[in-house]
């Protein structure tokens, strides 16, 4: 719009757009699928007789590195100066959540890649190129007495990755919807939820032979609990904004009632992403039969819901600041 004082485009532009929303989703997914892979490994493994690695662990070991890699690519190409990203490694500001994120990613990314290589060692052995990494694998395997410690370490870094994406936004007090301590917890939980869904899907697609009905059931029950946690967390986020008053209250009202983003929230995040999976999980668990159809449907709606939650928080947060 043109005014006496000039063009307003620069003030209306959305600084962080879809790349950031998708990155937040992918980082959460990576962290969630690692967490889920490890939980299955710790809690379900003894009972699994099919293979040394349950399908859920395999899917986690694939999903985690692939999604964090894609996410990082997106993040770098979203920079206005993508080829200057190396400054992130040369000049640190420890007050900045982005710097902390870079440090977590520097630890987390190689660790999940190692995890993947170990889980898929049998597959890799078949290829010629394995010779190239054999020494590395042998070296890593020489630490196998510490495997439990490494797993705990991986679990802890995965938690950091999941939570940091929330802190990244939470540090911004100019934006009422982001400036809430609930956000890191919410992102972590919904990341776990997407981890469950994607692990199950990848398992169904590629590792059916090692898929155990038991661990799927275990995950579905877990998913039910995660979703039941997520709903009040979203509630608390908005209640907090309401009690904050002032700009926050205005932002809250606008974000929940106007335009496309309110629709995406009510229909996408709440309806498709939370209520529908709740319904299917309850039906699937109640009927006591392992119905692949339900599980497919459940996983897909959960993933859609988690993506829409990230989009909603990123966009509606920036658009509705209560001013």
């Amino acid at each position: 719009m043109m005014n006496v004082w000039g063009n307003m485009a620069q003030y209306e532009a959305i600084a962080w757009s879809w790349e950031i929303a998708v990155y937040l989703f992918l980082a959460g997914l990576s962290s969630g699928s690692t967490i889920i892979g490890l939980l299955v490994k710790w809690n379900r493994h003894e009972r699994n007789t099919y293979s040394i690695w349950d399908a859920m662990i395999k899917s986690g070991a694939i999903t985690a590195p692939v999604s964090i890699f894609l996410g990082l690519m997106l993040l770098i190409f979203d920079l206005g100066k993508p080829f200057s990203f190396y400054w992130l490694f040369l000049s640190y500001n420890f007050n900045s959540v982005m710097t902390l994120g870079v440090l977590f990613l520097l630890i987390y990314t190689p660790t999940v890649i190692v995890f993947m290589v170990l889980v898929f060692e049998q597959t890799f052995v078949k290829y010629r190129a394995y010779i190239l990494i054999e020494w590395l694998i042998d070296y890593i395997k020489s630490f196998h007495h510490y495997s439990k410690i490494i797993e705990y370490f991986l679990f802890a870094t995965a938690l950091c990755i999941g939570a940091y994406t929330g802190f990244l936004l939470c540090a911004i007090y100019a934006i009422p919807m982001w400036n809430s301590p609930i956000l890191p917890i919410l992102f972590l939980t919904s990341g776990v939820s997407s981890g469950i869904a994607v692990n199950i899907l990848i398992g169904l697609l590629f590792f059916k032979s090692t898929m155990s009905e038991e661990s799927v059931k275990y995950l579905l029950v877990l998913d039910l609990r995660v979703i039941l946690t997520e709903i009040p967390l979203i509630g608390i986020l908005f209640i907090g904004m309401g009690y904050e008053g002032g700009d926050s209250l205005v932002a809250l009202k606008d974000a929940l009632s106007t335009g496309l983003w309110a629709f995406i929230f009510w229909f996408g995040v709440i309806g498709v992403g939370l209520l529908l999976p709740l319904l299917t999980v309850i039906i699937a668990l109640k009927s006591h039969v392992y119905r692949v159809g339900y599980i497919w449907m459940n996983s897909i709606v959960v993933i859609l819901g988690v993506i829409m939650l990230r989009y909603y928080i990123v966009y509606a947060g920036q658009i509705y600041t209560g001013q």
Partner: protein, 188 residues
């Protein structure tokens, strides 16, 4: 000696003539359709009891600057005089500071791709003891600029005589730009 810079914008004296905005463009070579500074106006009240409200939008040079604390590479930094500046070379253009600034003061320069904002004309003028372009051109003296540590400066004098507000004071960013709010109100 460390300076304590202060810019005062008197909403009562502003007539919305846009001279400051144009002076800023010329002085700092601001790219077309981007702004380091805007003076917006709004008509309030119901005819015939109307009043004009002017508001100045630019970096307010926060003492406690969110743009500086979020910047991952120290491209946004604060000098010992408390001014915030951008080192274009270090800026990776992640836009974190743009979302963090509560005053919508920052944008990406379309040519350098680095972040840009008002500098108080520090390099080109203030460091040479010349007033910022916007201040020196204002025909009604709605803008004044100077050092609060200097007891004889206009800003020190004005600071004693007027009632001030700080933009978005509740955020505790401690801006160096202060406002003398519009006093006339609307006759009803």
């Amino acid at each position: 000696m460390i300076k304590k810079y202060r810019m005062i914008y008197d909403e009562n004296l502003c007539i919305g003539c846009q001279s400051c905005s144009i002076a800023c463009r010329v002085e700092n070579n601001v790219s077309d359709s981007f702004f380091r500074l805007q003076v917006r106006m709004e008509t309030r009240g119901i005819f015939p009891s109307l009043s004009m409200q002017f508001s100045r939008h630019a970096c307010v040079m926060c003492e406690n600057a969110p743009c500086v604390s979020v910047c991952p590479t120290h491209a946004s930094f604060q000098t010992k005089d408390g001014l915030t500046h951008i080192d274009e070379r270090l800026c990776i253009s992640c836009k974190y500071c743009i979302v963090a600034c509560p005053y919508e003061a920052r944008f990406i320069n379309p040519h350098t791709k680095a972040v840009e904002k008002c500098t108080f004309c520090f390099e080109n003028r203030v460091s040479k003891e010349i007033l910022p372009a916007c201040v020196s051109i204002c025909p009604t003296e709605a803008l004044s600029f100077g050092d609060l540590n200097d007891k004889n400066s206009t800003v020190s004098q004005k600071s004693h005589k007027n009632y001030f507000t700080f933009p978005k004071e509740h955020l505790r960013t401690f801006p160096k730009v202060t406002l003398i709010p519009h006093k006339k109100g609307i006759k009803s």
